[in-house]
Amino acid sequence: MVQKLCLVTVGATAPFEKLIQAVLHESFIAELEKHDFTRLLIQYGKGGQPIFDAYRAEYENGKIVHDIQIGGFDLRPNMTSCLCMVREDPSIGQELGMMISHAGTGSILDALRAGLPLVIVPNPDLANNHQQELAEFLAEAGYAIVGKLDDIPSVVGQAAQRGDQAPLFRRDNGDRSIMTMSDELSWVD
């Protein structure tokens, strides 16, 4: 069976309950189903566990019905295995998925390195202006989509379209920058 994963990260430092609620909302799940996603994995971080557990309890009681397999965890020191699950890998029947990030630098860099379709949702409760700026610049350059909390479902379609295009970032494709420091060493010519 073909797998397609949507990975959601909220980071370690600040809780982001609104994002977790938004991605567990039925309208978002319906949108995932519409675009052939099979799995939703949430790194819910600090304070996210109660929301996730409440959702799981409702699901197990049969109050919510859908075909998306949902998983969640607090935090992992290394996200590599999760990122690999989003990547395209025909040998294990894995389609290119998408990643929704809380605008944390680490997670954005991870997604760019792995070449994943990326949605950035800045946390409006944090007065962190430069993260918002970063998200907007990345969106402008075409590397990511900026999502709004009140309209999360629409990003699934946008990201899916993105995924059909060429890889977003390639280190070995001329995008890679080289830092020059030889002038500071001042070698003999």
Binding site: G106, L109, F137, S177, M179, L185, S186, V188
Partner: protein, 268 residues
């Protein structure tokens, strides 16, 4: 009564005037040194193939992550033959990551473990999270002192450098924030100020010499349009100020100072 107080007033005014004048002089000397230092051209006297000692500041968390990505992508370790990693006390994770990184370099070069090519040094924090601003100046001074020791090669965590290194000073100091990085660059500049004065005092001022303790600051990739606090402080101080976004290129502290250089996304 008033006549009794008059001499005291005079004395107080004199002391005030004197401290003012000394303060003004110190600020003037600092400003002039910063201008001279940033505009100096380096004599090309370093011979190719000679070993280079790189000092890397691992700031913690996101700073460490960005720095490790830079180290992974941007350096040829057959040139930068010795590395000193500086981490804040208590930041075991950064220390561990530095060792892991060195293990990968050693593996790439076919060595099992090359512990002779690097050291990890732990220095006190400039300001701990939630520390009071009253005590912060003292802890910052403590941090600065530790930075001086590291740059002089006298920190207890350091082992003697291999014999092929003629100087205890690192050649390049690479930082990307936060406060400890500011301390390290300030310490480097302070040592260079005294070396410079000593050289001129001993009449060797114009003789070309290999430049060491060169300071490089890389602004965080997350900074697109505004510099971080560390960045703003270091703008007139760092010898090379690299930014990863075009809107930050060409910034300088004031007229006549060195501009920031756009280097692209070196963390990716």
């Amino acid at each position: 009564m008033a006549s009794n107080l008059q001499p005291l007033w005079d004395l107080a005014l004199k002391i005030l005037g004197l401290t003012g004048a000394i303060g003004f002089l110190i600020i003037l000397v600092i400003l002039v040194s910063l201008v001279i230092s940033q505009n100096a051209t380096l004599p090309k006297v370093r011979r190719r193939g000679t070993p280079v000692h790189l000092l890397v500041m691992l700031g913690s968390g996101g700073h460490t992550a960005e720095m490790l990505a830079i180290l992974e992508n941007q350096f040829d370790y057959s040139v930068y033959t010795y590395r000193t990693y500086v981490v804040s006390s208590g930041d075991e994770l950064s220390a561990k990551k530095a060792v892991e990184f060195e293990d990968t370099i050693a593996q790439q070069n076919g060595n099992e473990k090359a512990v002779d090519n690097y050291t990890v040094v732990m220095i006190p924090r400039a300001r701990r999270v939630h520390q009071s601003y009253l005590t912060a100046p003292f802890s910052t001074l403590h941090c600065f002192w530790a930075c001086l020791l590291v740059l002089l090669g006298r920190h207890p965590d350091q082992r003697p450098l291999p014999a092929q290194y003629p100087s205890n000073h690192p050649d390049i100091i690479l930082t990307n924030g936060p406060a400890v990085a500011v301390c390290m660059i300030l310490a480097a500049k302070t040592i260079r100020f005294f070396i410079y004065c000593l050289r001129w005092a001993s009449g060797k001022g114009s003789k070309p010499e290999i430049s060491r303790l060169r300071t490089i600051y890389v602004e965080s990739w997350a900074r697109v349009r505004t510099l971080s606090v560390s960045g703003r402080i270091l703008l007139p101080i760092a010898d090379k100020f690299l930014v990863q976004w075009q809107p930050l290129a060409g910034r300088r502290a004031w007229w006549g100072m060195k501009e920031t250089e756009y280097c692209g996304w070196v963390v990716l």
